[in-house]
């Protein structure tokens, strides 16, 4: 227990754990989807680049779960490899199958922009351990945004085929992206106390930035579809198979000493 964790009430601690876990779960699942391109990306250099981005996201998950460990002593590896789909709290947005390159880059762009903005706001958290983690991770995330924003633009302005694919990806992803901005239980109190960024404000900035890029620079059309409202505990049929693959080795050798 550090001085920072002792200052939290029980309700605050529980809400903070929920937010940290939600962030980590999104990172783990999206990193897995990114990793699925290893050996399959359109060109070797992008294969390496996306694997690096996915690894960074996994690193951020480690940071978030490390913060959770400080709060409840939980083991990050147990959380990642031994929870089932009904216990994971990631958004549907990140668990959707990887699709084509346009879908992958557009999802990563929407997600990177969210994470960069959230982390930037989190650097001002009154919870010092979170502010420190955010300051570290936000640097990488800003670079991710540059890479994936460039891809969204090149694909949208590329050929007729790439434009069509990018617009199709946007149509499918847009409603699901809204789920990133749902509050977890008790989060409003933490925002009030200055411990967590105001998701509403982050959402407004995100909407402004991605709209300007996607419609202004890329010439895409934002779909009219309504926002996804499913809670983070309700998943699509795509999560369970993903976890089965991701957790296979850990679950087959639960007591492995070395591997």
């Amino acid at each position: 227990m550090t001085a920072a964790t002792e200052a939290l009430s029980t309700a605050q601690t529980q809400a903070l754990i929920r937010r940290l876990t939600a962030l980590a779960d999104d990172e783990i699942i999206l990193a897995h989807r990114g990793g699925e391109w290893t050996g399959h990306a359109p060109i070797l250099e992008e294969d390496i680049a996306l694997a690096n981005i996915a690894q960074d996201e996994l690193g951020h998950a480690t940071l978030y779960l490390g913060l959770r460990t400080d709060l409840d002593g939980s083991d990050p590896d147990r959380l990642a490899f031994f929870r089932g789909a009904d216990e994971y709290t990631n958004t549907r947005f990140v668990e959707l199958p990887r699709g084509d390159w346009a879908f992958t880059m557009l999802r990563q762009f929407l997600y990177d922009t969210f994470e960069a903005l959230w982390l930037e706001a989190a650097t001002r958290s009154s919870y010092a351990p979170l502010a420190a983690v955010a300051a570290k991770a936000v640097r990488e995330e800003k670079f991710h945004v540059q890479h994936t924003a460039l891809w969204a633009e090149r694909l949208a302005l590329g050929t007729e085929e790439s434009r069509r694919r990018t617009q199709t990806a946007l149509n499918e992803l847009w409603p699901h992206a809204a789920q990133l901005f749902q509050l977890v239980e008790g989060e409003a109190e933490l925002v009030e106390a200055g411990l967590l960024p105001d998701l509403g404000a982050v959402h407004a900035r995100w909407h402004d930035l991605v709209t300007r890029h996607l419609t202004g620079k890329c010439g895409l059309t934002l779909p009219q579809a309504g926002a996804e409202s499913a809670p983070r505990t309700v998943h699509t049929e795509h999560l369970a198979p993903l976890l089965a693959e991701m957790q296979r080795v850990a679950r087959e050798h639960p007591n492995a000493e070395v591997w």
Partner: protein
């Protein structure tokens, strides 16, 4: 060559600077559709772990290279025409190590790439290879603090680690060895 056209994106030579004051070194290449794409990809491919402070990319078609052997068999390379201006000179000095790079050693005013190559040869006669390109051909990372912070700073904290470090289940092998839980080496004849 024409029967096998290269359908890949253009190739860009990547020059990485490890620290302020150090020369930019040619560390490899990336295929990319445009200058900005080349820089972003080069960052992901070449600045994952080692420290760096600046990246340049130069399109392959803007480079002129030659070895002493090539200059002997094709001296006309030194007459390669092109625009006059500032040229960067690169020199490869050794091939003794597994990874040896072309160092950028400075700039000259030249009448064209052939002339720049001639100046490189004259100034560095013992080099194993020379490389020149016009200054305008280099695409460079921004030098503002924001770029340095997001492109290069994170890599400094990512030191190389042995594979065993990443064991996420169970204990590190070193820990088991210290606890006497790992079988030792088979006794040798001498020891027996």
């Amino acid at each position: 060559m024409d029967s096998h056209p290269d359908t890949q994106w253009p190739r860009w030579e990547v020059f990485k600077q490890d620290a302020p004051g150090r020369p930019h070194q040619a560390v490899g290449s990336v295929h990319a559709g445009d200058p900005q794409h080349a820089l972003l990809t080069a960052r992901n491919v070449f600045v994952r772990r080692p420290a760096a402070v600046s990246l340049w990319c130069v399109r392959e078609s803007d480079l002129l290279t030659a070895t002493p052997e090539e200059l002997t068999t094709r001296p006309a390379v030194l007459d390669t025409a092109g625009e006059a201006g500032t040229y960067h000179l690169g020199v490869k000095r050794t091939h003794k190590r597994s990874m040896t790079f072309v160092d950028l050693v400075g700039t000259v005013q030249a009448a064209g790439p052939g002339d720049a190559l001639r100046q490189a040869q004259a100034a560095h006669p013992d080099a194993l290879a020379w490389l020149v390109f016009p200054d305008r051909a280099a695409v460079r990372t921004d030098e503002d603090p924001g770029t340095v912070e997001s492109w290069f700073a994170p890599a400094k904290e990512k030191t190389y680690k042995q594979q065993q470090y990443y064991g996420v289940i169970g204990r590190h092998i070193g820990e088991l060895k210290r606890a006497g839980l790992m079988p030792g080496r088979a006794p040798t004849e001498e020891g027996a």
